[in-house]
Amino acid sequence: MSITGLNVLGLLKTKMLWHQDRQRVLAENVANADTPGFKARELRMPDFGQSAVSAPASVVMASTNPLHQAPMGGGAGRDDRRSHTFEITPEGNSVVLEEEILKVGQNAMDHQMVSQLYSRSIGLLRKAISRPA
């Protein structure tokens, strides 16, 4: 069995490849920030399917009294659907430089997270095959 056949490592590898491709798309946007008629583009999130990743069950507080208020819905995460830009210059360019730079930073952070998870998973495997002390 190869290492990439493992479920977690395969998923992490896919995610890292996705971050690489996204970085290229974002670099295209930044490079063409002043080209007339250029439309900013974005990469769709990879679809891991329901079987691969199940959403973690969120912890909710129990309400023991009818006066208890329900927790705020939804997490504090970012809204991915808001990724389309809001500004188009008269020459037909829809790249907002600040937005793109923000996305580049976010992409790099996510990539760092995935690569650290990857090395941690490898470390787990290494620990499993190592000689007991």
Partner: protein, 136 residues
Amino acid sequence: MDLMKTIMVAASGLKAQSGRMRVIAENMANVDSVAPRAGLDPYRRRVPTFETSFDRELNAEVVKLGRIQKDNSDFGTRYEPGHPAADPRGYVRTPNVNTLVEQMDFRQAQRSYEANIGVIGTTRRMISRTLDILRG
């Protein structure tokens, strides 16, 4: 490696923006270049253009400097009868360069250049993080 391609795309942006800055510098330098004698045109402002081109090797849309066009707006005039380029009424035609516009253009080019540098820096960090997996 895909991240190297990212760096190449950002580098095309750097190259295009620096070419634009070069044209702007030409305009700024020639802001006082009037004709050497009467009947000739003074310096005409030049306008850099950008175009997107698909790079098959990188499989990405890079930017490059297109044809440098001429600005066909009217020349300015200045009353200076003693000048060798003065017309019979005593007016000298001056280049159609507005230093304020050029300065703002230059600033914009500088910002875009810095944005591309930022992308290159971030991508380099991503590469080194990927290599860090080897260290375990």
